[in-house]
Symmetry: C2
Subunit: 287 residues, 2 copies
């Protein structure tokens, strides 16, 4: 089913739940609430409770495979059970930041889309088009290319100035955004831009097609601001800015009330999100 099925699912969940908040399912055993073992089984039980508590207020879930891979096979088994448990109408973005040369990348694509049955995946663009193409080929799945990441060292390479052969100068992350738009023949490519770079986020939104989704991590613990990210990242319809939160929801309490506290936190975030986006929409309607 080519042409934008992931995007349709994402829009569907966001409209139904009136939320552009994505919850990052990143189990940190050191922070599990009381009563959960620091094992893959403990992580799975804990995350199933988090999904139950938050599922009416999110547009997507984003498990980061690193937090499962640390346990090897047992971790990946827990990850698969977690993804199987997430309601079918909420898309799952597998945060994997994978990429390799073509024939190897095809194996990563099989893992993400045919084994874990994720709806979308994050990828690292450093190896160029042929490393991304095996994923793009799954036309009904989403691809988020790392563009400008939320960490301080993003500046090491991503913010360097590229001098193109044509004489034009632009930043490396801007070149990645431009290539993503070029490679988006099936309408299934998006970008990852950290909430810690609000002005660049607004600038990238202007560079890309209006219907290209942005995945925005870095709100909360890393210092990015929710409302500012939504305003900068949303398209002209006030949509397709997927803001990820993780620690503030997952570890809202270390006691038995952790699920209630997670629910209260995601409700608060979804309300802030609706507020910020209605301002954009009424602005657009008034133009």
């Amino acid at each position: 089913m080519p042409d934008g099925d992931f995007r349709k699912a994402l829009l569907g969940a966001a409209r139904k739940n009136r939320s552009w908040i994505c919850v990052g399912l990143d189990p940190d055993p050191g922070r599990f609430p009381r009563g959960f073992s620091r094992t893959p089984t403990g992580a799975l039980s804990f995350l199933l409770d988090i999904v139950m508590a938050t599922k009416n207020h999110v547009c997507a879930y984003k498990p980061n495979i690193a937090f499962f891979e640390r346990w090897g096979a047992r971790g990946l088994k827990a990850l698969k059970e977690l993804i199987d448990f997430i309601p079918a109408d909420i898309p799952v973005i597998l945060d994997a930041k994978r990429s390799d040369i073509g024939n190897t990348s095809a194996n990563y694509a099989k893992a993400a889309f045919e084994h874990f049955m994720a709806d979308a995946v994050t990828l690292n663009p450093y190896l160029g088009f042929d490393s991304i193409e095996p994923f793009i080929r799954y036309g009904d799945k989403g691809i988020f290319l790392l563009c400008l990441t939320s960490n301080p060292s993003a500046a090491d390479f991503q913010k360097q100035t590229i001098a193109l052969e044509t004489g034009e100068k632009l930043k490396l992350y801007q070149l990645v955004a431009r290539k993503a738009a070029e490679w988006n023949k099936s309408g299934n490519v998006g970008l990852v831009v950290g909430a810690t770079h609000p002005s660049e986020l607004a600038e990238i939104r202007q560079m890309i097609p209006d219907d290209m989704p942005l995945l925005i991590p870095g709100v909360g613990a890393q210092g990015g601001d929710l409302e500012e990210s939504l305003k900068a990242g949303a398209n002209s319809r006030g949509e397709l800015a997927v803001v990820n939160v993780s620690r503030s929801v997952l570890y809202a309490s270390s006691n038995d009330d952790f699920a209630e506290k997670a629910k209260a936190e995601i409700e608060k975030l979804a309300r802030s999100c609706a507020g910020a986006l209605s301002a954009i929409k009424s602005g657009a309607a008034g133009e």
Copy 2:
């Protein structure tokens, strides 16, 4: 044990086996010899036979985790058993091309070094220093940063020209090589440079410390030349150019003689390697 333990192990294996050839353990079920099932168990049995046939003629093994991850938990279980089986005096380079923001990257480092017990890992530099630092911290383990990869699309970003603030211009892959040398405080950083770029390989060897290892994929099926890669990639002592071969050894025959044929192929490669390197050494001795 900081300062170069991976490098010592690598030098030890290369000297003992008189070979700078690394065998890439990348199971492609479509090409398994007769009699092996196209499952993680089949892959494991096949690769154990390959290790037995080649272990006296390699300096390292390099399993690529993508070929195991495609099977999820069962694949990772097979990968762990494979690594456990490899003789302790032959270093294992886990080809994972991982990276993420700092606290997440620490989980990937745990997976590679504490779960799979690999001796070295390949990493993608796009996220910058703080994504690499959690790996560098394991001072006795090796890190190979992707610099210039063997695939055709390497040119998309890696060969772009960077205009530094100082006015200096260099290619992105050259900036990665320079940063790697800067970040190499514990003496455990190396680079991945594809055999498909022989002139850039020679140029990168000149840019980096003499005791920094290069991992060189792309010989054989991808078109790189063994002797040329060794001459361009070896240091002044004719060492530390780790040339990876995979398909020509693993799939030397699809019949019952696959292990004998793999052994004959690796012996031939090791002889070519010794020949190419003795030319460098006698050149160096004559200077």
